[in-house]
Symmetry: C2
Subunit: 304 residues, 2 copies
């Protein structure tokens, strides 16, 4: 499919793409680069790229497709560092969890002879770094592309083909709509998970050891999400401020209503809400976006 | 260990206890009863009890240990219905997720010749009903016992032995402390999961289909918790009102602070919080209360 793909940023997402491209034979050469010398060494040892470049310029030379997989806040610098070495006709794409702000930053840095296809794979785990990646991460998941003024028909087709090749379903929408959809399906859920874990950590009446021991009551699910990469998530919130604050406002409003139902013993309203939320779970399972197994299929029973 | 255990309420928890007692040979006879005729029929077909009684009175006859596993709001009626048929020296225990309110209700109904050991296994899944139970549910999990004025040394030892026999770690504490600990480790997490799923369902800018397709960004974890038994959870919130409202107040306060960090671009404070919450996850994994596998060990890759 491609002669050379360059991947800048070799964390969970970048390294999973590299592994997927090689596993499925989608690119003759995959060259990687990461801003951290330590990550470059580890990536070299792991061997999921054909070559690890020592500079971003070297990585993108002659690449047909350049994939920038760094935290949203580092995107502009990453693009600046490689812009002057991009081949004629190269296509640049990214995987940032926020689109409007990122597009603005990248367009300001990008030379005129390259196309840009903003993208965002809706996949990931709570683990970070090049060791955490795996080739199947994107299989059966959705990837959203949000074409902008620098997206050509050919470049959109190439990036679509890459994601389909990795096993993803591809959908296009405007950057603005992406940012609202993700605010409710991803950003606010992360925010409230980080928040409840913080609240629990600060309690004086309940010890940390109690929180840990009795977490199987529900809390432990939130700790998984609240173990996601801190820098990546800091950047998402700062760059999707408007949509996150809007969705958070709705969440808080609804929570106040729920709090009132409890205070005034409105059992019927509680039961109605709790019954309604069950059907959304069913939709997610039917769409193949989660397992129907109890507890996500977590192991039960003694490990010892 | 026991000659006869009676289990009243054959949902996820009651049926798992029955299966565990039989699998580990902890009771010569296990007799079950459920208020729903349909559940009694299904339980008979599933065969996890030695006998399914047609009345609660019949179920508890000659039972050494009587386990009441019904939603918190149905506890008083369940105990009233069987109280007059309890054997001399029988021990009654429960599995309710709230302790202070439940103890008060049960003590009002209980005859003088039986002991009562309030209990709460910190285990469960989002699935409900007798088909959802399994013998290993309590292995490696904690069970909290909250002795009250009707708990004798012998009865406490018997109930402790039963839970240890099922593979659980047992801890005792006051009912009041239990209700605070569970408010933060279980009740408020469920409340905010129900709430965010409700918020997402009500949006007009984002369709239900988009919420479902892009749920892998984090939202789908919340839908699992928000698919838990509606009646059980309604009763928990109404019966642990004070502790839930207190913990919810702290959560909301902290969320307002987090919202302010985003509005004022306080990247350092965000990153600090997100880094701090990672360590709690580590503690839960080290304590054997969750898997270290990415995404809870969920299957990745194509199902087709």
């Amino acid at each position: 499919m491609f002669s050379k793909v360059a991947i800048v940023g070799l964390g969970l997402i970048g390294s999973s793409i590299a592994r997927g491209l090689k596993a499925r034979g989608l690119s003759a050469t995959v060259t990687g680069y990461d801003g951290s010398a330590d990550v470059r060494t580890r990536a070299r040892d792991l061997g999921f790229c054909d070559a690890i470049a020592e500079t971003p310029q070297q990585a993108v030379e002659d690449a047909e497709l350049v994939l920038v997989a760094v935290p949203v806040g580092a995107m502009a610098d990453a693009v600046t560092s490689l812009a002057s070495h991009l081949a004629d006709g190269a296509v640049v794409t990214d995987v940032g969890g926020v689109k409007t702000a990122v597009i603005e930053k990248i367009l300001a840095e990008l030379p005129g002879h390259v196309a840009f296809v903003p993208g965002h794979p809706i996949a990931g785990t709570e683990h970070s770094g090049p060791e955490a990646g795996f080739a199947e991460l994107f299989e059966g998941r959705w990837c959203i592309l949000t074409p902008c003024e620098r997206t050509t028909e050919t470049s959109l087709a190439k990036v679509t083909a890459m994601w389909s090749g990795l096993g993803s379903h591809v959908e296009t929408m405007t950057p603005e709509h992406h940012d609202i959809v993700l605010a409710i399906t991803s950003h606010v859920p992360h925010l409230i998970a980080y928040n409840i874990v913080g609240t629990a950590a600060d309690l004086e009446e309940v010890t940390q050891s109690e929180v840990i021991k009795f977490s199987a009551g529900g809390f432990r699910d939130f700790t998984r999400i609240a173990a996601s990469d801190p820098v990546m998530w800091r950047d998402v919130f700062l760059n999707n401020k408007e949509a996150v604050l809007e969705m958070l406002g709705r969440f808080t409003e609804d929570l106040a209503a729920l709090q009132r139902m409890i205070r005034w013993d409105d059992g019927k309203a509680l039961e109605d809400l709790f019954t309604r939320t069950r059907t959304i779970r069913r939709g997610i399972i039917d769409a193949g976006q989660d397992t129907a197994d109890a507890d996500f299929g977590r192991p039960h029973g003694h490990e010892d």
